[in-house]
Symmetry: C2
DNA sequence: CTCCTTGTTGGTAATTATGCCAACAAACCA
DNA sequence: TGGTTTGTTGGCATAATTACCAACAAGGAG
């Protein structure tokens, strides 16, 4: 009935890949279609190596993939259902507002 | 169109709360209904303080809540849509299998 | 009241995550 | 061929996470 610890570990690796504001924004952007590294890079005030490593985390978890086109690296979202993922997060946030819970605002 | 960094931070805190195998299993268990601390504790070979702290993380993110009944602490899942959350994670795993991607198995 | 059960909090050590700089590799340009 | 653009990798310092033990607080039970 309950999932095994091994199964939970596999799942948590995927969830962990999403558990960073920068990577969330990257996924949000890729929800609108393919984008090049430089387009993604321009979104943030971060070193290019940092951006590259965040993209690698998403790629290794299987959420996005990349291909080289000319001198550009193009990234795309592999799993469209990531939208459902977010809709539940939004539900949690709304639930927190109803509870007037402030723990996320500290 | 794209979410702000502040919004992404709020979201990532909730996702981060789910990003641990132990906490995932706790949520799986609470999907079946309310459970006491000792019932949850018995699932794991962990110190009670560790279990308590994991539950606190879930509680502070607004995913679960607790109430004291007699000498027991009862925990419950506040956000049923967490199931949708998992269904997307499962889709990622299945997509990875199709790709024969091994990065999650190392 | 005293002991015992139940769970939380404080402290600490080990591991992991994050972000920068520097160096490198690959493709494009001149 | 030499220089430039584009992105990745290695190394390192700092911060965050995790899990343990010990101590503590709050309720029963005797």
């Amino acid at each position: 009935m309950l999932i095994s610890f091994e199964e939970a570990e596999i799942r948590s690796k995927i969830i962990k890949a999403m558990a960073h504001p920068v990577r969330l924004m990257m996924v949000e952007m890729l929800k609108t279609g393919e984008h090049s590294f430089s387009q993604i890079f321009d979104l943030f005030k971060l070193d290019k190596s940092t951006v590259s490593k965040h993209l690698l985390v998403l790629k290794e978890s299987g959420i996005i993939s990349s291909r080289k086109t000319g001198s550009d690296m193009i990234y795309r979202l592999d799993v469209p259902c990531i939208t459902d993922f977010f809709s539940c997060v939004t539900a949690v946030i709304e639930s927190n507002v109803k509870k007037q819970q402030v723990c996320l605002c500290r």
